[in-house]
Amino acid sequence: MVPESYYLVLSGIMFAVGVVGVVSRRNALIILMSIEIMLNAVNLAFVAAGSYLGDPAGNVFAFMVMTVAAAEAAVGLAIVIAIFRHRETVDVSELKELKF
């Protein structure tokens, strides 16, 4: 049997990788995917905790997170499409209108 801490460490690692993706990549799509990874890491932690504590809440939360992730992906992609149609690019660093 695998102790819960392994799962938590694993989700920590995945989460960090997702963050690296969000922070370092300039392509909007890659960023969206990295966010998906981060969310998965969180789900993993929820499920692991839920199963160890014997409380269905972990799974319910994971379920909630999933719906949010889906909604977030949809809207994120819609925005990317809108930007792409407007600016012909998905490079985040070019979008600087809000500069001081």
């Binding site: 049997m1 695998v2 102790p3 801490s5 392994y6 799962y7 938590l8 460490v9 989700s11 920590g12 690692i13 995945m14 960090a16 997702g18 963050v19 690296v20 993706g21 969000v22 922070v23 370092s24 392509n27 799509l29 890659i30 995917m33 998906e36 990874i37 998965n40 789900n43 993993l44 499920v47 839920g50 199963s51 160890y52 014997g54 409380d55 269905p56 809440a57 799974n59 319910v60 994971a62 379920f63 909630m64 999933m66 719906t67 949010v68 992730a69 889906a70 909604a71 977030e72 949809a74 809207v75 992609l77 819609a78 990317v80 499409i81 809108a82 792409f84 012909e88 690019t89 998905v90």
Partner: protein
């Protein structure tokens, strides 16, 4: 036995996510994303959360990844257009911070993770369904509302500006 499976799937998940982040071309990173999702689903199964594993595969792998692929194809960014990634200071700081975060995650995990080896069967559809429709009924309804908002939002955002 379970330990070995855990390590396999754990390793695959991590490897997949690293690939997602590092691939230059979005299509390949989507594929690796799919791989990661499957390995995480497997881990769910290991934790006896069959319902969530199933949802993961159907919703996540099925819908979201397909959607991303669809959008990538729609945008079909020309080869030349893919931005050349030159590491900037901000990204450097970001990576360092992410490393720090990983360490902190690991530390938290190891310190607070329960050491006992028991797996209670709570992930079944019946248990999750009961919880969902009794104590967590309100959040459940609200998420439906959330999804509706997301649908409307993405339609409005993505439609062609006449």
């Amino acid at each position: 036995m379970e330990r070995i499976l855990f390590f396999i799937f754990g390793f695959v998940a991590v490897f997949g996510s690293i690939m997602v982040v590092s691939r230059r071309h979005p299509i390949s990173s989507v594929m690796y994303l799919l791989l990661t999702l499957f390995s995480v689903a497997a881990l769910f199964v290991l934790r006896k959360s069959h319902f969530i594993a199933a949802i993961q595969i159907i919703v996540y792998a099925g819908a979201v990844v397909v959607l991303i692929v669809f959008v990538i194809m729609l945008l079909n960014v020309a080869e030349s257009k893919i931005p050349v990634e030159r590491p900037t200071l901000a990204q450097g700081v970001g990576v360092v911070a992410a490393g720090l975060l990983m360490l902190e995650g690991a530390l938290v995990g190891s310190r607070y993770g329960a050491q006992i080896e028991k797996a209670v069967d709570v992930g079944t559809v019946e248990a999750v369904g009961k919880a969902l429709f009794t104590s967590y009924l309100l959040p459940f309804e609200i998420t439906s509302l959330l999804l509706l908002a997301a649908i409307v939002g993405s339609i409005v955002l993505a439609r062609k500006k006449f």
